[in-house]
């Protein structure tokens, strides 16, 4: 049975072998002695070897631990909020997808509003602060970047803003 390191090593090994197989389709130009596959093959081979070593090291470490009778369950760590992490990633993905459709100001205002509502411990009590922060973030960043620093921000296809 593999542990965390072993599984990570296995994933890296599979990825590097797959990419290594893809380098076989790369052309070899006649003008230069080294083709575009030369360096990727070296790097991917090194990655594959290191990944394999990680898998083997993990297997050996776990075998040693079993022999030494260290199979005691680990002490419980601090409680982690995985749901909040998943929500943050999902909200950010939604924000990125909506940016070219709604434009920077609208999408940013919405994103800051929703993410604060999700992360805040008492969103109903802090609704005014949440509203103000979202409006100010959207307006001030737009003003600073477009107005002062001449940095163009995404326009919305749906809103024209």
């Amino acid at each position: 049975m593999l542990g965390r390191d072993g599984l990570a090593g296995l994933a890296c090994l599979a990825g590097s072998l797959w990419l290594l197989a893809l380098t076989r389709g790369l052309p070899h130009p006649a003008l230069v002695p080294i083709g575009p596959s030369f360096y990727p093959r070296i790097v991917l081979s090194v990655t594959a070897i290191l990944s394999a070593v990680l898998v083997v090291t993990d297997l050996l470490a776990r075998r040693r631990a079993r022999r030494a009778g260290e199979g005691r369950p680990a002490a419980p760590g601090a409680r982690r909020n995985v749901g909040l992490v998943a929500a943050t990633f999902a909200l950010f993905a939604g924000y990125v997808a909506l940016l070219p459709l709604l434009g920077f100001r609208v999408a940013t205002g919405l994103f800051v509003l929703v993410i604060q509502a999700v992360l805040d411990e008492e969103p109903r009590r802090h609704w005014l602060r949440i509203l103000l922060v979202s409006a100010c973030t959207a307006a001030l960043t737009h003003l600073a970047f477009e107005g002062y620093l001449s940095v163009l921000l995404p326009r919305g296809r749906w809103t024209g803003l």
Binding site: P33, V43, S51, F89
Partner: protein, 508 residues
């Protein structure tokens, strides 16, 4: 050299440069003081603001963030016992007990003035060695560059706290990321699987923002479980102190100051280690050399002086590496490297001779950032402590928006924002799997350069033994091997010591 430095000092003293430097220093102090917001994150947030500026204005602002951030971390470390940045962890060991004993002003100002002393001593090293080191690097051919980059990667992998194997693998993964996209010689698309998105490869700044800012923010979100509210610090007592007495306390320990500064410089010169290691190592050294090590951790000035002088001189060391060799000393200088490239400046051995105005401008900005940090802290410590009470939910939202702007504004394309998101996920997964991120990012930064120099060397002369037989290249390769062997040996020694150690007597 002194003429150029004098002219640059006058240059940077103009409002055009002084204002971005002062604002950068302020941003650095605030970012450094905020627990959970690292200097890397602060400089990433400042990055998009520099796009519309002149290169020296932008780099002055970033230098200000770097110096200010190192000083800002000590404020919360001393006053509320929470280090604002990892480079202020050791400052807290003695700074917080000193503040609790009723001397908060002495604790903060010992830290600030030690930072200034370490920073200014580091500036001497920065100004004196960058030029000669760059001139030495001009002797390098592709063989030497290849070997130098391999040395940088192997050292970073070996010096990371996680396992050497994972460090090496993280560096290799970073290099794999750079081979996706067009190859640097014939521009033939590689490993793109026909995707237009992958054809141009992954730009390194969105990767950096994703890995260091986004993944860090998500790690903070993960901790927002039960009792999410940030603890509200108590209003600080008066910070009034005799500055002369504090400065006298520092200069009366010249060996401690000098040795801590040297440790900071050396760690800064080594790629991708950073102030977090420097302050702990300097603190440890100060304790070892002390006649009364048992008093460390009880609120003595030596602990604060060692930690703070080392983390500020570390900045100078990192700047030397990037300016002389084009290798980032840590994640902060990696962002600075990205900013330079955006402005059409190539850091490396030719930088100081081709762009003397900017190179000496950075020296001048580094020197001037220290007095600016002192003034800013003198005026605003109470305000910075209030900023610590900003709700995390609002802070995270604003940071994510600024990360998005930073990635988008690089080329005004949404693809970069998706790259930021993908690498945010990837960085978070790597953190959860226990992989160190510093070798990964160094692999991403150096991957292209390693390939270009390897190909250039082989196209010049197909003999691969030249990597070993050319003296500098051979020495660098030998050092790479030695650093890996040393890391393996240290790892085994630690493990065998742990195995031989007797079971501790547990008193139930």
């Amino acid at each position: 050299m002194f003429e150029l430095l004098g002219a640059s000092l006058l240059d940077v003293l103009q409002w055009k440069y002084l204002l971005p430097l002062a604002l950068g220093t302020l941003a650095g102090i605030v970012g450094g003081a905020l627990p959970g917001v690292t200097i890397t994150m602060t400089i990433i947030l400042v990055l998009p603001f520099t796009f519309g500026l002149d290169p020296l204005q932008g780099l002055a602002a970033m230098t200000g963030v770097y110096v200010g951030g190192e000083c800002g971390g000590l404020i919360t470390a001393c006053l509320i016992g929470i280090p604002g940045t990892p480079s202020a962890i050791a400052t807290m060991f003695d700074g917080f007990p000193m503040a609790q004993k009723g001397e908060p002003g002495r604790a903060v100002w010992l830290g600030v003035w030690a930072s200034v002393a370490g920073g200014l001593l580091g500036a001497v090293f920065l100004i004196a060695t960058t030029g000669p080191l760059a001139a030495f690097a001009l002797e390098f051919g592709p063989w030497e560059y290849f070997s130098l980059f391999i040395l940088a990667l192997s050292m970073v992998a070996g010096l990371t706290e996680a396992s050497l194997l994972k460090g090496l693998l993280a560096g290799a993964i970073g290099m794999v990321i750079t081979v996706i996209g067009a190859d640097p010689i014939m521009a033939i698309p590689r490993l793109t699987m026909g995707s237009e998105f992958l054809r141009g490869g992954f730009p390194f700044l969105p990767i950096l923002i994703g890995i260091f800012a986004f993944a860090q923010i998500v790690a903070d979100v993960e901790k927002m479980s039960a009792g999410r509210a940030t603890p509200t610090p108590l209003p600080p007592p008066t910070l009034a102190v005799s500055h002369l007495a504090v400065i006298r306390e520092i200069v009366s320990r010249p060996f401690l100051l000098l040795w801590s500064t040297i440790i900071g410089l050396l760690i800064g010169v080594l790629p991708a280690i950073g102030g977090s290691a420097a302050n702990i190592m300097a603190y440890d050294q100060a304790k070892k050399f002390s006649r009364h090590p048992e008093r460390f951790g009880t609120g003595i000035p030596e602990g604060i002086i060692a930690s703070e002088s080392s983390n500020n001189s570390n900045v100078a060391g990192s700047l030397v590496t990037i300016m002389a060799f084009g290798i980032p000393g840590d994640a902060v200088t990696a962002v600075m490297l990205g900013a330079m490239i955006i402005h059409g400046i190539q850091p490396g051995p030719l930088f100081i001779s081709q762009e003397p105005r900017i190179a000496y401008g950075i020296f001048a900005a580094y020197l001037l950032a220290h007095p600016l940090a002192v003034v800013t802290i003198a005026l605003g410590t109470r305000l910075f402590l209030k900023i610590v009470t900003v709700p995390k939910s609002a802070l995270i939202a604003v940071v994510l928006v600024l990360c998005t702007v930073g990635a988008y504004a690089l080329n005004n394309i949404m693809d970069n924002v998706w790259v930021l998101f993908i690498f945010g996920l990837f960085g978070y997964a790597l953190v959860k799997l226990g992989f160190p991120l510093a070798p990964l990012i160094l692999g991403v930064i150096l991957g292209d350069q390693i390939e270009v120099n390897l190909v250039r060397a082989i196209m010049t002369d197909a003999n691969p033994w030249l990597f070993l037989t050319r003296p500098i290249s051979g020495a660098l390769i030998a050092l790479s091997v030695a650093s890996v062997v040393l890391a393996v040996w240290q790892h085994h020694r630690t493990r065998s010591r742990l195995a031989q150690a007797p079971e501790p007597d547990l008193d139930f």
